[in-house]
Amino acid sequence: MKTNTKILASEFEYLECPTLAEALNCLSKYNGKAKILAGGTDLLIKMKSGLLQCQYLIFVKKIEALNYLISDKKTLRIGPMISLRSIEKNEQVKAYYSALFEAVRSMAATSVKNMATIGGNLCNGSPAADTAPPLLVYGATLKLSSIRGDRIVPVEEFFVGPSQTVLESDELLTEICLPDLGDQIGSSFLKLGRVSADIAKINVAVCLNRTGKSVGNCRIAFGSVAPTPIRIPEAEEILKGQEMSDELIVKAAKAAAGLIKPITDKRSTNSYRQQVSKVILEEGIRSAWQRAGGEL
């Protein structure tokens, strides 16, 4: 058992980078020996518990160029250093990106959300990260930058395992881009925790388009049921192109529940997660469908 001593016991050099270029240079220079500090709400706890050591700590939250949220009519671009609280307060997010709004709303206490960033939530690589399922269902892409150049990675390919992502040791997440989601779109996010503002026992996001009475495009993603946040394409296929009905929702949710293989941990049990996955997915589909203007 590792105890949070509230002390950063191991020695490291602290580097504060006011610009992206400096940050990328530092990352390249100290390749493999540096950790990136954003809001610190995950990283510092690991360091104080002795679970993580580094020789250099590169502070990037003050890079103004990475702190933005720009939406034109169709797309949304998010600077990864924006705080969760700023996302929650953004009117555009609240109005058009319900799943992302509901996710950040469900997270942590306000003081923590003032510190924590969306980039940190993603790069921490937790299977329970609440911002991951919404970004998965929005088909978001991530821009990963290094002095070698930029690359664009779909968020689906970003997570590799618990605390593991495809981010190379000299790379920094520099933008989250949500594509044009098309018309008549609705999305939702649901989560079960143990108390309010808890880490998820299980979470789910749904995003779909409506064409008349039928489902157009559709994505479903769960968190906290696998080593990474995951999409459930089989359940999505059940919905796509079909006329929406209660039976269809139940069928899709049941299929999804059969496909996930959650584990038992401190927060819940595998059987409970399996059992409630269909409940929250059903609710999530209904809610997304109604937000897309559909009726049930």
């Binding site: 105890t3 949070n4 108390v195 401190k266 059987s271 409970y272």
Partner: protein
Amino acid sequence: METSVVGKGLPKFDAYTKAKGTIAYADDFSLPGMLYAKVLRSKYPAAMIISINTARAKSLPGVHAVMTGKDVPHNNLRAKFGQSTDIGPNFEGLYRVLAEEKVRFLGEAIALVAADSEKIAEEALALIDVIYEQLPGVFDPIEALKQDAYLVGDNDTNLVSQFKIRQGDVETAFKSADVIVENTYSVPFKDHAFLEPESGVAWVDENGIITIRVCTQVIEHFRTVAEVLGIPHNHVRVIGTWVGGGFGGKEDITVESFLALLTWKTKRPVKLTYTREESFLAHSKRHPFVMKYKTGATKDGLLVALETELIADSGAYTYLSPWVLLYATVNAAGPYNIPNVKVDTVAVLTNNPFSSAYRGFGAVQPNFAYESQMDELARILDLDPLTIRLKNCLQQGDTLTTGADFGGSVAVREVAEKAWQALGPKRADPGKHIKLGRGLAVGMMSYGRLTFLHDTSRSYIKLELDGSVLMRSGIPDLGAGQAQALVQIAAEELGVPLEKIKIFTSDTSLTPLAGTSTATRQLYMSGNATLKAAREVKERLINKASVMLKADKTDLKFENEKIIRISEPDKYLALSTVIGQCSTDGDELYSEAQFNAPFTEVPVSDVITGQTFADFTFGAYAVEVAIDEETGEVNVERAVTCYDVGKAINPLNVEGQLEGGGVDSIGYALTENFVVEQGYLKSHSLAEYLLPTALDVPDIETILVESGAGIGPYGAKGIGEPACNAMAPAIINAIRDAVGVRITSLPATPEKILFAMLSRIK
């Protein structure tokens, strides 16, 4: 009796500084040249220490002391745990400052370090080489009682203590019962999770006195600390700070001995503050209990017999287990008239974290069990929850299962009715998979210590020449308004506004000892002592004023800093004038009064009979819960509580106590689970040990009954700990009402509820 200050919901005088964050809690204090302490803790729950080598740690630059058990002058004490009365070996236990030889629980303190900084101290801990030999240990109290069980300590048994109650003949009575309900209940460890972790600063003053400024419920531990060091009692001074929550977790010694040892060794001021995780490891827990209950009733719903067996996990050391067990024994039958009762209780050592005091002190665990039993009986007999309680509850003139009389007021009926009826007409279920349910529970608990402890409290009041008032009391204020209550009593008696009174608290060398802020005793004990002191001073003022005003003594009243003739209100003297005259005449206006609780003999047998407590507080909770049938999630929608508090000295504060007890019990019922597996902690931070947040609790509606029949000042009863009764079983009963499942082990997690529902459907 008409009162003008007592009975008013006035803001506590300490509220503003706390709200502004300017009050200096234990950690908000430093001294020049101060060192920082850290504690090395055992990695194993059961092990033999083969060797400890501190050489590497001692040679680390910046380290000033490294101490182990062999450096402690008196490392092993037969402790009475803060109690000054001699009550015999049955209520004593081993207090070991630092582990030697056998390690008994994970996190047990093994060595101390004092260094120039916390960081260096932490580094030094890693340089202490301890060689352990792991031992099997025992982690289940039932296993620990078996003949060939692993022995936790050095005695030849793991048994800590046992008690019995025998009334009537249960065997015959069960034969005559129409209905018998039998269940086994279990409750887990519970952590106090106070906002302020254990903390203190110690120094040696200019006269060589070891002085410890610390957050504690019990400043009287100065005596034990002196015995650890082997120095006279009056060479240790404990200054208690404002406490950021105690709940029983700061009732035992926490950092005091460690600080005293290090400051004594280094002659430098030393600070020690636990982190949250260390606090989880280091302090006591509420006892887990396994409780077998067999309850018999007639078809009309009258209780005929109760047989119960309670097994308490004491964890690794005795501490207050015998006392907690005695409380559980006396409270096991609840506030009911049951002609035939058989209670058997036992407390057992294991290699789990040690259990000791927790707000509710042994009354709360059986409360969950007996109120669940009552609810099941009501369901079988098709009675509503209120009716079955009214048919059986204790009334004025009834006796306790030990045969003792209840004094004062027994208002079980009234509190149950008021709480239940306040819920009003039932609502329809809000959604198709959301089910509403209601539950009721009542509870009883003593206030004031066990009567054989011969409890005392002293309080000092002095009137200054300008009419302001100075008070001194050893009372530790835990944030519950203990000090404010004393000030309100003095203000009431002396007709002086609150802001003209200053109280100095919690200093073993300078304030009269008021006893511990535990056992819901301070308002009762120190309130009475303060009342007595105030009235003594008042008497002298009246004597003087009656001469000065040429008035009869009974014709005088104290109001607005004046002594006024009741018959001729325009004839009066300023209080300061009378004080001045007294002073001129050589009469110093001060009084230090002592209040003594009623006293009984120490029980000689493990069969408990007669009086063990001076009085009880009775209360009820009625709740409405909403349960999502598909996820098992519970939301407490409404909670109404009604308690007979005797007299609310400060109704705002009483409501706060009831709400706090309620919230604490929502956590007990639904979320808090201190998981220990084979002695290892699995919930060692607030991310794993889940307290209800502000979003998880409803507004708690409080109804105060003021019978005026308590034995505290103005007829007040104690409320701090009794407030933890009834909420948890009311919630569990409401879950039963909503979805038809009986949860017998706490906490009632969505996982438990959902699968109980699913297995019922199958």
